[in-house]
């Protein structure tokens, strides 16, 4: 069984992409999704943790860290392990940021690895995604020049590769990615242009 923790904050518009890409590759295996929030049923999570062969955490990174809710959950898991809970699963992470460079998730990734050491959980693999503000770039038409947008989402090949590691419960080297074929400058300009446009819409609505 694969236990998927959805640690995205509500502002993330396409959060479903993470679990969808894993589900495509692990058809036969049970995949349980838990949204990290205030109303997490901790007893239920503990049962899942015992049975899971892989734990996957998807979360956005802000100021070099995952959200406080995710940190809270990690500490609770560590306490459960200290209290006698046994977790044999490998831990996989999908961290993303709107900032261009995937490497800007590397500090948060290292925090997750330290958690794994504390909780005696084996690290599987990390995927750090930069340039995740696809909407802005998409509307400007710089990321998808071909009509079939799904195929040209730069994240998908890497997510599928990550899903294979998860399916096979293999360990791998962490990977950090940024939008393929779009320069840093283009991405920044497109993002800022889109923000200006959104602000004008907000003012008009007001």
């Amino acid at each position: 069984m694969i236990l998927f923790f959805d640690g995205d904050s509500s502002s993330v518009s396409d959060a479903g992409i993470w679990i969808k890409s894993i589900r495509e590759y692990v058809e036969k295996e049970e995949l349980i999704s838990v949204k990290i929030g205030e109303d997490v049923d901790w007893n239920r999570v503990c049962r899942f943790l015992e049975d899971a062969q892989a734990i996957v955490l998807a979360a956005d990174v802000y100021m070099d860290s995952v959200s406080p809710r995710v940190l809270d959950l990690l500490e609770r898991i560590e306490q459960a392990v200290i209290g006698g809970e046994s977790i044999s699963a490998k831990f996989y992470a999908i961290l993303h940021t709107d900032l261009y460079e995937g490497e800007q998730t590397s500090i948060a990734m290292a925090v997750l690895k330290n958690f794994c050491e504390h909780a005696n959980i084996t690290w599987g693999r990390g995927l750090g995604i930069g340039g995740n503000n696809l909407k802005a770039a998409l509307q400007g038409g710089i990321l998808w020049k071909r009509p079939d947008r799904e195929k040209t989402d730069f994240r998908l090949p890497f997510l599928h590769e990550h899903a294979l590691f998860i399916r096979e419960k293999m360990q791998g080297t962490d990977v950090y990615i940024c939008p393929d074929g779009v320069s840093r400058g283009q991405y920044i300009r497109q993002n800022n242009r889109q923000n200006k446009k959104n602000n004008r819409v907000k003012v008009a609505e007001y």
Binding site: Y62, M63, D64, S65, P68, N114, N192, N195
Partner: protein, 151 residues
Amino acid sequence: MKVIVHDLGQASWQKLGMRFHERDIVIGNGMECAGGDIGKAIGSCRQLVLISRCVYGGFSPFIQEVLEKCRNVFAPSMELRHGQTHYVVKNQNKNLFGLVCCFYGEDITPGEEQLARIQSVSDGISLQARGVKIVFYDTPDKLRQLNSVLV
């Protein structure tokens, strides 16, 4: 004016006997403070002091929550700084305020200490602090020594 954000319990905090000036602002665990107020305070201080339990080589959930509430310090637009993309900082005190990151905890490993240092510097760059000072104490009691660091 300095802003101190800490995750200590009320009793531990009071035991420290921290020196304050009249206009200093303290944001502690359990205190109600709206995100806009925190952002405004941080955006106008001379020194921002973060006192945090070291959690896996980073800030504790409470300190991280406060940092998240400061989103209005940043404009949604991005710029290139030090070869990386960063959010544009719109507060008045950018490049003027000092950031002090103070971590405490009994079992901080060398690896966690190094990671906490890297995160502190990186957050200082994100917030456009003038400089970053990082200190570690193995017990909350030793935080008293922080008085010599604060302005």
